[in-house]
Symmetry: C5
Subunit: 300 residues, 5 copies
């Protein structure tokens, strides 16, 4: 995630970090060059039939609406993903307090919290598709999950918590009230995990991407025909601006629709996991680590 203040004058003109410009520059320049070619051909080869701009108005507004819809859906995915991870953080904090209240054995408490932290890291590694994440492996090891071979599945950490609770129940160090309270907390974590999995594994329908990119390119390729008459050599500039706005939005949308990726706009899962460690440290009797700070405006 990029963390910068409201863009000032200089940033507006020159900021590259966090901007979508570097990604779409080739396409924008290509389309502008194509427009220039059309103008040149119109002047030197043969005059194109002049096309009124009105059909392009409808086309452009329809395209804006569809891009707007897809942008909305992508932003909703991004924000829902953030809500789910925020909910997991709250669940971990509540879990720590509820173990204090309901779990009699201090060793059980510590193990349960370490398993919860391991879950967070394993969940993050799976969401980010890091099959051999070192931090997750360490967290899993500290919680007593198998340290060799592939990383355990996040479910394995939660299953271990359930087994721990079942054993405590049988030992009499967890009464019925506590069993219900902690089982509900576990279920809430499970729900948050399933929600994040849903977003990670079910992309926006592919057919939208195809429809919208194809329509955008068609629009930008046909636009010179409408502009060559009224705008002349300014046509490439206008085509470039239109391409910048539409392709820029399409690209941002593509980014936000994958909130667990490694793009500049992806969610700061590392920082959230760190916050969880900070929040649970007092309950484990440990010194809390430092919060993660953005590097070059980027919080990972």
């Amino acid at each position: 995630m990029i963390l910068r203040d409201k863009p000032g004058f200089m940033q507006l003109a020159f900021a590259v970090r966090g901007s979508i410009v570097p990604v779409i520059a080739p396409q924008v320049l290509g389309l502008a060059a194509f427009a220039a070619l059309v103008v040149w051909a119109d002047r030197h080869l043969a005059t194109f039939p002049e096309i009124e701009a009105t059909p392009f108005t409808v086309f452009g507004i329809a395209l804006s609406l569809f891009l707007g819809f897809r942008n909305n859906a992508a932003y909703d995915r991004w924000w829902e993903a953030r809500k789910l991870w925020g909910g997991l953080l709250a669940d971990l904090r509540s879990f720590a307090r509820e173990t204090e209240l309901f779990l009699a054995s201090e060793a059980d408490r510590a193990r349960a919290l370490r398993l919860a932290l391991a879950f967070m890291h394993l969940h993050r590694a799976m969401a980010r598709r890091l099959p051999d994440d070192a931090t997750a492996r360490t967290a899993a090891g500290r919680a007593g999950l198998s340290a060799d071979g592939p990383l355990p599945r996040p479910c394995a950490a939660l299953d271990s918590i359930a087994t721990l609770l079942a054993n405590a129940r049988r030992d009499g160090t967890l009464d019925g009230y506590g069993a219900r309270a902690l089982a509900e907390r576990l279920a809430s974590i499970t729900l948050g995990q399933a929600g994040a999995e849903r977003i990670a594994r079910t992309p926006l329908p592919y057919v939208y991407s195809l429809l919208i990119y194809r329509t955008t390119y068609l629009y930008c390729l046909l636009l010179p025909l409408a502009l060559v008459g009224p705008a002349g050599w300014l046509a490439p500039l206008f085509v470039g601006i239109v391409a910048y706005v539409f392709l820029g939005l399409a690209e941002v949308t593509e980014d936000l629709a994958h909130p667990f990726g490694n793009t500049p706009n992806a969610l700061p899962l590392d920082a959230i996991c760190r916050t969880a460690e900070i929040s649970l440290a007092p309950h484990l009797g440990e010194e809390p680590p430092q919060p993660l700070a953005p590097v070059d405006y980027y919080l990972s």
Copy 2:
């Protein structure tokens, strides 16, 4: 569900798998041909009165807005359906952990989990309208539900879980805390089931389909009258593009509004059921099966 990366240049130009083009090609070509006919008639038979493009602007924007509304509603249905199935998956995982915590008898636990898996498959078979699905029949059989005749209703699997719990309660192997916890889990599954049934059985109001398809065809049939003058022989191209955009969106919408169908954009219920089996396998002491993989980009 189609699983492909962001379309690259070649896909944009040529991808057919996951595209809506094959479905709407006949209509698009038909409307373009009609436009060509209008141009030909205008040139060789009798000149049509020239109609200003402005009324078409309003008409086109109104149509875009209504298509946008219907698209929104369809996408919401699709995404809510995915949420409900994701919630069912979470419920099954929590159910497995809670049986470990609250159900004393191991045999009861195993039977309860097998019934839960049978529910998932029966629910899937009903949503997909597969009255004799072999996988669902096997799952029902393993859970001890009647193996002959028509498939049992999904409710039957949940009713059997309730009976199992009531017997355990009477036997004293399930205490009051556990009865409440497991009954709440069952109610949560019931709610998810009812939600998915609602989407499957209550389509978008038919009157919208009629209104929108009629309006779209009217628009595409009248458009040549506005384009014959300014665009000439390019009119069929423009009409084709407009038809592609509007009919394409209408068709995608129709697909997404039925998220449990067998279309390329339908939800991957098979894969979700498989994930449930993988998640419950450790609780049943079984080897988890392999996750389903997409075939030709398609996850069933």
Copy 3:
């Protein structure tokens, strides 16, 4: 509710069942006739001042947006109503399972389920404003609610369940866990009932209807002035189409905003009540009745 497949070619051209055309035909024809009158007057009496179409563009787009807003709000009401009834169905199923788990007396269980079914029918009769619905009266009678005079209020059925539970509690056939579980279920039903009442008793603000219908008519009455010049005798056709789109959407909206009515687009409350009876039949040891089937595409 109309249940038809995606409209094919013939339906698009001729379908009347489920279409809004019969309702708005008089207004549409009237407005087209008025447009024809304007053209005739312009040709034979005195030429009207030509008005540019641009103001109509803004007017038309603003009108589309406001119609779109109202349509959204109406569809949300319709879909929320369906959700609430779906939730009631889920609550009834869970109630049946929870009585099995928590209510010791079989007679109490049967009476509680019959009261729940009576509630559904009384609730339906109130929503549909059927003060003397025979099915509801029968259901109330079977549950032991007063059979004479006006139909009991839906609340009376739920109050009777509460009294039944309180008596069971006092008799010792319902323990504390069960009392909480069943009271929560009752509260969930109560919430669903209040939600449906809210939709039934609080229509969309009347001021919107007035504003939107007045604006739509103003638009259709002024439109001929803008079209008489450029479109000539085609003006009535265009006015008719515009009136069809705008009045059609306004009328559909009016329908969906009253989801408990008797219009073709109203919710199939009869069918939902029947599904509840089917779901509860096994718990009552009865043969489940047949599900309701659509008649002439209409599910009541």
Copy 4:
């Protein structure tokens, strides 16, 4: 709240009750008069420069979108307020049933219900800013809250219920199950109260009002410049219509954004409180009062 059927032909033409026309007539007429002045000046003093209508298209559409956004936000406030009050009604009904199930002392039960009714009336009086509402005072008095001085705060009624429950708990007439059930109900009422307070005390950001009204007036004041050429003496009519649509919507929005006011579109809090009294009467062994009926289409 205005309760009228779908407007028929006569109402469309003449309905004043529930219409926004009387409120905005002065501004609409004023703006139309200004437009007439511009036309007169253009004809008799000096010709204004002709301005193309296109900039007004963008301006008008942008304004429509912003008005649409604010209208959406206002309607959401109105509908959320209605949901919260509907939720309170459901909570009161559930509270009555749960006291029957869990509170052993009949006197406590009656007092608790009277306190709940007093809460509703005090909450209504606070939302409507009626510092000396007679009905609320009576209800508070019947519940044993201080009858003199300023009205008690709604919180005082809920605090008294909590104290009543704490005393019952200490006396042994309320067990742990009941304490949890009734405390959860109280918390649910508290949440509904806080939600309604939020809407009452946090208006839509003032800056929106300023921005939108200023923009609307700017638009209506500049519009004559664009219409004076093409529309001539019809310009005042067009300006009047535009002002009617935009100011009408802005005014309705202003109304709906304050759902607890005394405007025709405000929520019928009196009627909801009466419904609560009707619902609780059987539990208090009283004759239910009559429901409130609309007076001149208006339900208070």
Copy 5:
């Protein structure tokens, strides 16, 4: 938060308090001056090529839609933040009532409530980035949290409540029912806190700000080219108005997207904390303080 009535005529013309005008005046005047320069250059240096206004229509509508989207997202953040703080207020009131019901020791009750109030103030100080807020320090001190060094984290206050409850549980002054009830309340507060943290720490994606401000400036800088012909010396006025509308909305959006800031549109956290103190005073046996009143229409 600015608290003013619906703007009247004088306010519309002159209100500055709560208006966005002072913030954006420099940019608006700068852009208008640039437009004047373009007109002057066009008249005295060399005639610019005339550009049709149509491309600007599409551009302007696309820009309106994107601004509208961002405005929606920002308003949702603002309103969700308000909901979360309203929920915290409700949680505190319920917490007070539940301690009365479930916590036997009066000293524990008082300490728990003081800790809850300290949490509110610490949470507010963190959200507003006031690392040394005097009120928060006092509240923390009164609750027995460390009075020296940096302010304690809000989590510390909640952790202390959990420890207090665990001790009471061990002492036998809190039974299982109460432990569950109060743990759930604590979890609800934790969830509200995490939600507010999410909004405070995860701004709207920076890439949107960049894209929208860049597009807005591009639009306003190119607009004179389209207006210089038809509008002449009125062009600067039009450009100024367009800049006022678009930049004004962008700026308001920027404000609302940071609901915990110190801008005029930020949420009144001080007032909400004061309301919490008023609500809890009777439970602490204290005289409630006065509610905060707006100063110069501003409620902090």
